[in-house]
Each structure stands twice: as C-alpha cells, then as structure tokens.
Symmetry: D2
Subunit: 383 residues, 4 copies
C-alpha cells in the first residue's frame, strides 16, 4: 500500500511553504499562485555531512530562537551546550535530544577541543565577552559564529580575526538578516539601476524602548556603548550592505533624556548621516527610547522599504513603481536557521561566510567615527 497522502502536495502551496519557509498570506485572496510556489517536499538531507553546533550562553535568544530553529536547518545540527547552569542545560538537552556528554561549563570550556561532535561554537554572550570566548573556541580548533556587535572595540575585532586566521577556522558574525529573503530583495533593489535608477538616499532607523535599567546593555563596560552598538548597528550595517560601499564621512547628534536611570553610562538616541563614495547619502537613527525599525531606499523612479526590517519575523516590503504601492510577499524564513545553515555549508565547502569577522570590524570602525562626530560637532572623514 502506498502512502497516498503524498498527493496532498498539490494543495500545500496555498496553505504553507516548504523547507522552513513561511509564505505569508499564502492562502490569501491577495496572494497569487506565484507567491505560493515552493520547492518540493523537503526530505531533510541526510546524505551530506551535518555540522554540529554548541551554544555558549543559554539565555532567551538561545532557548526561544536558536534551539527551535535547528528543526528548520538542513545541515546545522544542535549537539552541545556551554552554560554556567548545569541543571538548566541538562533539561534542555533532554528536550532537544542533546547528548549530556556534550554539555560544558565555563570552567571546562577548553575541553571542547577534544569533542569531535562539536564543529562550531555559537557565542551568545554579552558584547564584552565576545572576544574572549571566540578566541578560546578558535584556539580549541572550533569554528565560531559570534553575535553582533562583534566586540566592544576595533582592536578586539582585529584580535579575533587574527585568531581565526592562526587557527585556520571560520569566524562568522551573526548578521542574520543578510541571510533572509526580505533584506536580500532590498539589496537587489538598491543595486539594480536599469529600472528605477541608482540609489540616491537611504533612510534607516533601528530602536526600541529599553526596559530594565540594570541590564548589561546599559553598562558601558559590558555593552561597549548604547543604542548604537546594540541596535543602531542594524541601520548602519544596512546602509553598508545596500550600497556595497564604505562610508567616507559621518555626522552625528546624540541626546539622552536627563535623569533617566537607563542612560547614565550609555547614549539613548543618536542620529547619524553617512556619505558614500558614489554620492549616496544615508540618514540614520538609533534609539533606546523609541521603537522603530525601517529601511528605505530612494531612487529617481521609485523606492523600496522594509518595515519592520530586522525583527525575527513578520518583515514587510513595500516597493513603489509606476503609479502603484506594492507590498511584496516573500517567504518568511527562520533567519537563524538560514544563518546557521550558511555557516555549516561554508565549513563543509571550506568557503568564507558572507559576513566574516572583517564585516564586524568595519561596523565597529564606523561606529567609533559616529561617536567621535557626535562628540566633536564635526564631520568625521573615514578613509
């Protein structure tokens, strides 16, 4: 007897999408068949070797995003944990089928060197710890995926890059939106010139109204800076990946609400302007006081924007062309699954990831210039 439910396939495009893809609005009266075209049933690939990931830091991001994301991965596999809380790690290991012998503490972290099941260390720790835990993992012979911002200073970034080179291991920074369809579509729009003309102006905002005044993000020593380092980096990075250029001049203004206990050490709001070699101007805003998350690319004969642009899900894209405002319905993919699979693929093919350590370093350098511009009231030139 054959499995007849395979014939369900014909309808599935209208209700969903395959391979970890979520086709927003796929059944909608407002969604045409094209939006619903999806690859054939995904039988997870077993032939190819899988790449084992261990997570360092079992906080919210790790538990609520990364662990379930592995169920959408093709080549990245969750195999280990590094945590200071063994009980928690053990429980999670049971749920996600992680072998208890792949659980490490911060004290025996170096022993991962001896564990062949672990190929990659994913560093999900406060910013100031990125450099240390990345370098130690590299020295232990592991590849590293490190959350952004890469570190608190360009100097730390340079050391991390050097360590990767010395160890001959991959070092990738977790710029997850580079791996998902909406931001990729915006990049394609920004760089295309035949249709709407060259990009002239980019507007990018990223901010949220931060909560608990006692969190590490508001400690200069741990976070490296304020909203710019944590969230404004999305706007900066977007201006860079949309243009494919490095900024040559920067202006900035900053303001923090007086007497707000959250902003004693780090800035609340910072607006910054970037000039790119091609003449594109970017006007950006970063905030720990208000919520926004939008990127817009403006051209002579059209514009496109993402809003939200960087949240984990629910991204939306609007494109203006010839008399119409168009919402593009793209697959809503799990950013983390894509990001982790990207690194897994790079490791298997021995290729450099799209967002290597150098990418993180470049953002750090511009952020330092932005702070300098705000401080000095002068346009800062970058070489």
């Amino acid at each position: 007897m054959t499995d007849r439910s395979d014939s369900r396939l014909s309808r599935r495009g209208f209700l969903q999408a395959a391979g970890g893809t979520l086709a927003a609005a796929s059944l909608s009266s407002l969604t045409p068949p094209a939006a619903a075209q999806v690859p054939d049933v995904r039988l997870p690939e077993l032939a190819g070797k899988q790449v084992g990931f261990a997570l360092v830091g079992l906080g919210s991001l790790a538990i609520n995003q990364l662990m379930p994301a592995f169920a959408r991965c093709r080549q990245a596999k969750l195999v280990g944990f590094v945590s200071g809380r063994p009980e928690k790690a053990k429980q999670l290991a049971q749920v996600y089928g992680v072998d208890p012998k792949n659980i490490y503490g911060y004290d025996n972290y170096e022993r991962i060197a001896d564990n062949p099941a672990i190929d990659v260390i994913y560093v999900v720790l406060p910013n100031s710890m990125h450099a240390e835990y990345t370098i130690r993992a590299l020295k232990a012979g592991k590849h590293v995926l490190c959350e952004k911002p890469m570190a608190n200073t360009p100097q730390d970034c340079e050391q991390m890059i050097a360590a990767a080179k010395a160890a001959n291991r991959q070092l990738m920074i977790g710029y997850r939106v580079r791996y998902e369809p909406y931001n990729q579509a915006l990049i394609a729009y920004a760089r295309e010139t035949a249709d709407a003309g060259p990009t002239r102006i980019i507007l990018a905002d990223a901010g949220f109204n931060i909560g608990d005044p006692k969190q590490w993000r508001l400690r200069k020593q741990m976070a490296g800076g304020g909203s710019l380092m944590d969230i404004g980096i999305y706007a900066l990075n977007a201006a860079r990946y949309l243009t494919g250029e490095e900024p040559v001049a920067v202006n900035a203004m900053t303001h923090s609400t007086p007497n707000d206990p959250r902003f004693v050490e780090v800035e609340e709001n910072i607006t910054f302007q970037l000039r790119f070699p091609s003449g594109i101007l970017a006007n950006c805003a970063s905030s720990y006081g208000v919520n926004f998350n939008r990127i817009r690319v403006s051209k002579p004969r059209g514009s496109a924007e993402l809003d939200p642009a960087s949240s984990y899900t629910g991204l939306r894209m609007r494109v203006v062309r010839g008399g119409a405002i168009e919402e593009r319905i793209l697959p809503q993919r799990d950013h983390f699954a894509l990001e982790m699979d990207h690194l897994a693929g790079c490791i298997l093919k021995d290729a450099e990831p799209l967002t290597p350590g150098e990418e993180g370093l470049k953002d750090l350098r511009v952020m330092m210039a932005i702070y300098e511009a705000a401080r000095s009231g002068r346009t800062i030139t970058l070489s």
Copy 2:
C-alpha cells in the same frame, strides 16, 4: 560563573517572542512595547508527562508542517510514523529522533495497540480514508487527531464518534485555526456586543487555484466533493464559530468551468448563504479556481476582518472603530503546535477537546445541505 547571557532577556521582546510565538513586526517603528510583551523564557516543561504522537501519512503536511512543529510544542512529542514507504520513514526518523521501532506500515498498523509510547494517532490521509484509519486507531486504544473534513459523509462521522465513545478515547478534528490567536480574537470580536454592537453580517471566502488534475482532491470518491469539502469548509466553519450558532437555512449556487479537466467529478466554485437563528446572515464563497481567504464580521458600529484568515502563517487582522482602520498585531503562533498541544493537554486532563468529532459532523451536515440547495435551487432548511 553564572550564565550572563540571561540578561539578554530584556531586549528580546523587541526582536521576537517566546514559546513558539512570532511577534510580527515586533521591532517595527509601528509596533509599540505592548505588542512585544511576551512570556518569560520558555524552558520546555519536563515535569509534566508528555504525550506521544504518531503520524499516519508522510506527505507534505506531515513533513513540512507537523514534524518541525513539535519543536514548538510543550506536551506533544513526535514518537512514531505510519507509512507505506519504510525508507522514507526511516530517514525522517533519524532526523527527528524517532525510535525506529515506532515505525509502522499500513499492514501492521493494528500493532500500535501494543506500543505504549504512542498515545495519539494523527490521521493525515485523503478524506475517504479518515474514517477507516481513525476507527482502527480508536479500536487499538489510541486517541485520534483527524484532519478536516472529518470524513466524506455524515454517516462516516457518526461511526467515528461512536467508535471513540466505545473505546473511551478522545477524537479531535484538526481545525487548527481555532487554536491560534487571530481567529480567537475575531471570535471575541464577533461575540462582544457592548462596543460595536451585535454581529449582523459575516462574509467568508476560501479558495485556491488548484493544480494537478490528477490529484485525489479532484476525485469524488476520495475527496467526497470539490472545493467546498476541502477549502470552503474553512468559510463554513468560520461562520459557525463566529456566531456560535448552527445555521437554519442555506442557499447556494455552483459553477465549474466547462471542459476544465480538473472539474469533471467535483465542483470548482460554490457560493452559499447561511441564515442563523439570531438573524445573522453569512455570505460565503468557496473555490478551486481562484485564490481568496478572508473572513469579515460586520456590526452596526464597526467591523473586523482576517485576510488571510487560515493560511499556516502570516495572518492579518484589521478592525474598524471610530474613524480608524486598525491593524492588530498579534503573536504569529504555529497553529499545528497549538493544536497538538491542545489535544495533549486534553488527554492529560481527560477533558474533551474544543473541536471534537461532533464539530466535524456538524460541518458535514451543513455541507450536504449546501450541495442540496445548489442542486435544487431552493432554500434548504436545517433543523
């Protein structure tokens, strides 16, 4: 050394949401803090007993939706497969950590009776097979979750209900949208009367442009009917769950494109009208020829709609009130995870599920009346 990454929690609301929840637009400039409030980090519950599910039928829905959904469940756990293709089942078992001894074929299906790891059989087969595989599972002492439509005839539904009663097991129909926040919010809107007044008119559409003419959905014997049975049931079910009433009269018109090889045995389009005891009128449309998926509730002082209303993800809700058109941003949850967890919880608490067999039977009875109305050109009265 403590796990400092826990302090990431404070930001997470703005980037995501916990517990399988996807907070659309959560970082958006257009999303206020309230939308981002999410429960604390979800440490999957291990204390409570988990409920083992075996899937019958390894088609697209099972592979692309159900299997990954278990990673978002708290109490439902994937433990087994029933399939006519043992190789495929074995591969999938490896990926999802399913014990190979919990894999069955259609020939040894009854032996699940002896497998205590399997609590629930989830029937994901063509409509005409629902009754048989449901009843056999119930007889084997298993609870059943059966996809909709429940069966091809009210008579089959009645036998399934009787079998569940005889076996003292739960029988739930997979009306997944009843378990997700958008449809629940629309129900709340429809039944509330103080604010916008009582519901007067419901408009509901569900349809898609069906593909391959050879698929089982277009075979009368296997599918039981055409678009109404497969997809129009979403519109009908919505009219019923929004009103909380059973229709008393039905009108209908049907049309199939002549000479279209897809519509030789079953109908393409069918529009139907329902009158409810309270006087609410519902105007519904079902199609295998066009894409739509919208529900609207109209009241004297406002209206609300979902579009799309039933797709696996990307649901959107708009509410009109006092001079404003409001898009409500609710958590985008995995419908299947919620549905499966609901049944798991019911089993653990020995409670009846929200959508038991009786719910499926009621839809079948109205669908038969709709077909009769279309055939006879008369208003059909339901008791």
Copy 3:
C-alpha cells in the same frame, strides 16, 4: 512682462493634479513620477458651447456636492434651480452666480420650457418623485439627469424611457462611479483575460448604518424598498458593469432586526447571489445596518478590489499579481463633475450617454427578482 509663474508647472505634478483631478499621495515617497503625470494646465474650455444645468431639489447632495462640482466641469454649467424654498434658492444663486430669473418653484416648474439657458434638469429628489419630475422635464423639452435608483418600479422606468424617446431628449441615470477612474480601472481588469485569466467570482457589498428612523428612505412608498434600492444597487450595478452581462438567476436572503423602528416598512439586510451567462457567480450584500462598500473581482491568477468602491472620494484599489499586493494610485476625480460633463458632451455631440434610462431599468428588474427570491426561498430565473 510675462507671467513667470507659468514655470511653476514643472513641479505641480508632485503636489497635485490638474483638471479637477486629485492625485492621491502625489508627493508621497510612495508615489513614483508616473502617478503624478497630469494633463497640461487646464484653461477651462470656452470655445465649445457650454451646457446649462438646473438642479431640482436643494438638499445636501445638491448643496455640498453638485454645486461645488461645477467648478471642476469643462462643459456643464450651473445655471438654475428648482426648489420649494425660494429664500434658500436665492441665497445659493448669489453664491454661485446663478441668474435669479432661472430660479423656479415646483408650481411653475413647467415654465422652464421657455428658458433657453436651461438645457438639462438634474433630478435630485426622493425616489418616488423621479418619474414625475423627469417626465415633466422631458415634456418641457429638457434633457434629464436623474439620480439612482431610476424609479420605484420597472413600469415607471419604462414610462420615463418612453417620454425621453417621445421628446427626443437624452435621459441619463446618475451612476456616477461609471465615470471615475477607479471603477473604470476595475472594469478593465475584470474584462481583460490575457494576464490574470477570466473573472470567476465577484464579491460586492454596499451598506451603511442608517440614522433617523423618520427619513423618507425608510418609507416604502417614497423609497420603493430598503437598503437594496438605495445602496445595494451599487453592488448589483457593479456586478453588471464588471461582467458586462445580465444575470440569469438570483438567490437571496433578507433579515431585519426585530423591533428596530427603522425597519418597519423596508428591509435592513439582504444578501443576494447572481449567476451570469458566462458562469461568473456574484455574491453580494446590502445593508442599512452595517457599513461596507467593497467590490472584488477574483480570477485564476490574481484579483483586484476597490474599498471603498463608491464613496464620493477616497477610493482605493488593490490588485494582486505575481507575489505582490499592489495599491494602484489613480487620480481622485470629482465623480459628479465627470458625470455632468459626460452628459453635457453627449448633448453637444447628440450621443447616447453611457448610463441611459435603459441601464436604470435593468437594475430595477433585477432588484424585483432579488426581492422575489428572498420572499419565495427559490432561485429566480431572469430571461
């Protein structure tokens, strides 16, 4: 010295539009140049003869819509009033530069025959008075523009048509949306087949929550019927102009809230289904209890909708095509100016208007069938 302000022209497309046109969103970041292309400066045409209009009935529609609309007309000119309130008429005449000798009462209405300045009588009276005042105007040798519904019965319509023929004068019904860009674009979409395929299903709703229970619209004798006659006619007319066909079968259901003083004589809600010769099904709703005003055209490879579809301004159009939901930004024109100019042009060219008396009669005949279907619980066949 030349008038240099002419050079302002180059910018105007971005801020506005010419000739009575309102280019919604014209300066918007979301509006491309194409949307802003407008005809050259409109120097109102003086060369061609203008056509004089007298309004019969100085209510809200006449005062707030029709009178200011003449400032956007090219060939229709406001020249007279017929009213039972001479003081009001005199005041308005002063404001709009109407010659006081062109003011008539209902008692000396026939004397318009002797006034060569008046070419057209625009009948803006309650439905039950349409036939009488139209026929009297035609007998006086005037062309007539009559508001919809044309009359309370098909018989009255037939007499009006006969009177126009006998007088050799134009009789046009005020189906204003036929003359404005949004509905015209939807008609083009509905009838085009190469791109999205043939129209399969039309959904159309029109309704509002009616106020004062004492108004003439709620008196059967004056209004001829309830919501269907007054507002549902927009949905019916849309189904007819979108298909370009006449319905062959009708189903309907009606409901009025019990004990509501507004619905003692006429119906509140009525849903109706239409079958067209080509197989298109239309599902329509009409209401005096809730607000809606939407038309949707569904095809195999796309759909388009207007919402609102018929309000005096602010119409919006959404089109679905290949993975995108597109809002089309069309010029927002004054419907009444277009409608009146259309008739003026027809008179000058001795051509039949797009919406002659026969168009009004056809709607009346279908509305009678809809009422009959609701009453009898049977599908009514139309020849």
Copy 4:
C-alpha cells in the same frame, strides 16, 4: 410644496462630507460612523462680509488649485487677477465670474490701491519676486498672502515684515498644511505627553524628482537655492511646528549628481539634522532627485506618521498604539480653501494669522544655517 430632497441628509455622511470636506473611505466597510460625521448642510455664509482675493500670477497653481478652491471657501472670494497675459486672464475671468475691471497687468499693478473690491493679494510668483510684489501690494494698502518660501533671504523677509507693519496690513505665508486636519492631528499627537510620552525623534522627508532643467526653480537667482528652499522647507517647517520649538543646532550633508544639467546652480539632495532645546532630534531629508514626503513622530510608547504629508490631497495618517497599527481617517479638506478662509477670517476679525511673515523668516534663517553646516562640515549653532 416643500423641498423633500432635504431628507437626503441622513445618508450623506456615508457617501461624502460637507463644506469642502472629502471624507476618505467614507462609505467603506472599513469606515465607522464616527468618520462620517459631518457638519450640517453648508449653506454658504452670506451674512458675514466676504473678503476679495486677487491672484498675482496665473500659472498652474493658480488655475488648477486656487481658482476651483474658492468654491469651497466660506469667506474668501475670488475677485481679481494680476497677470502679464491679458487674454488668458480675460478667459479665466469669464469662467470664474471675475469682473473684467478687476484684471491688472504688472505695469498697472499699483492701481489695485484704488480698487476696494480687492482686499487681499495672493502672490503666486517665483521666489525671487515674492518680496517685491508683496511690498508693493502692502504699500497699495492690501493684505498679502505670499507663497513659501517667503523670499530668497532673511533680509528680504525682514523688509516684507516691516512693510506690513508700516502699512498696518496682514502678511501671511502660504503654509497650507497648517490649516488642514492631518497635519493638525499630528501636531496634537506630537505635543500630547500623557498617552504615548514626549516626542523624542522626528523624521521628515520631502522631495521630488524635478523635471525640466530650464525651469526657474533650478536657477539660483530666482529660486534662492535648490531642493531645500522649495520642498525641503516642508520637512523643516514640520520639525518646527511639531515641536513648537526653534532648533539650536544643525548638521547637514549635501550631494548633487555630477553632470546632471538640473543641478548646475542648486543642490539636489540635502540631509539635515536639527537639535531642539527640549532634546528632540530631527533627522530630515530634502531632494530634487527622488520622491518622498513623510513625517514621523516617535515617542516612548508609540509613534505617528503622515505619508504623504504635504501633497494637495490624499494625505494618510498612521498611529501606533498598544499592539495596533491604526490608520486614522480624517476629513480630506481643500488646503487652499482653508488657508484662504483663514486669512479672510483674520482680516475680518483683525487677528494675526497662524503663519505670519515671522514664520517665514524663521524658516529662512534655519535654511541659511543648514547650507552653512553642509558647506563647513560643522555643527552650526542657532541662537
């Protein structure tokens, strides 16, 4: 016999709005009754004295916007023209009922002093002519409504203000959006603090892709500057009226596409940042190369935006609050009618208009600082 059509009133809210108001989406399923509430039938006010306006410059704005707008005014009345093209003026006079003896050329412009029918001169000329024609009108004893930007230099503005003072006449600048509901609602939102908290960041863009390279707007001598003077002034003015404060510091960057014949004398793009005394930061962009027109106000617990914000019609407002994105449907009024009526009312009551000459001067001063900041690469401090 009474005029029964008055009873049409009860329905009109759903189809329209009174008094020059356009209620966008008023019949929509998505528009509740509240949006449709409109003032009673507008019988134009005749009792109060009307104020006579003469237009100087018969270009596109005058012909296509201002002349028809008078049909929506209550107190402003079109009575005269000043133009270098007498034939054109005569034709237009006939259409709009302007007395031919109220037509002037630029040579006999001063003779308006002797014409008591003309109370106000509306200056609709290129920027460089504003000062001259305003001062001459004031000296002739007329009130003046002058388009924005007020003049090419702060010095000219000061002379215009002095002339108004000397002549004891009103001088108003045509900041039309201050008089229409959408921008007024955004001001109310920005200044309210109890609900969403204080304004923290303002983002404002205004730009269009300018056409003909030979037009006066691209001549430095006639226009005074580039996109900033012409269109960026909307963004600057918005930042000022939203905060109700004057900026204390300015940053800017500018770029013009090399070898583009349009930008030989004036700038194409300019981005600028403003710091306000309360700490609000505004990030603004102005362009002659791309289309945008958006204003956003960001607060700790919500945000609001207009897009488009300044076009003649079709403005849209979105407000974010507690988990919802809300489109506010406000009346779409004729900005010019409101603006002209405002000045008429001020003259009749001898009150200062909301946007007097001083308002225009303030914008000019900030614009000079913006240019200086762009030139110097330094933050410019304003006192």
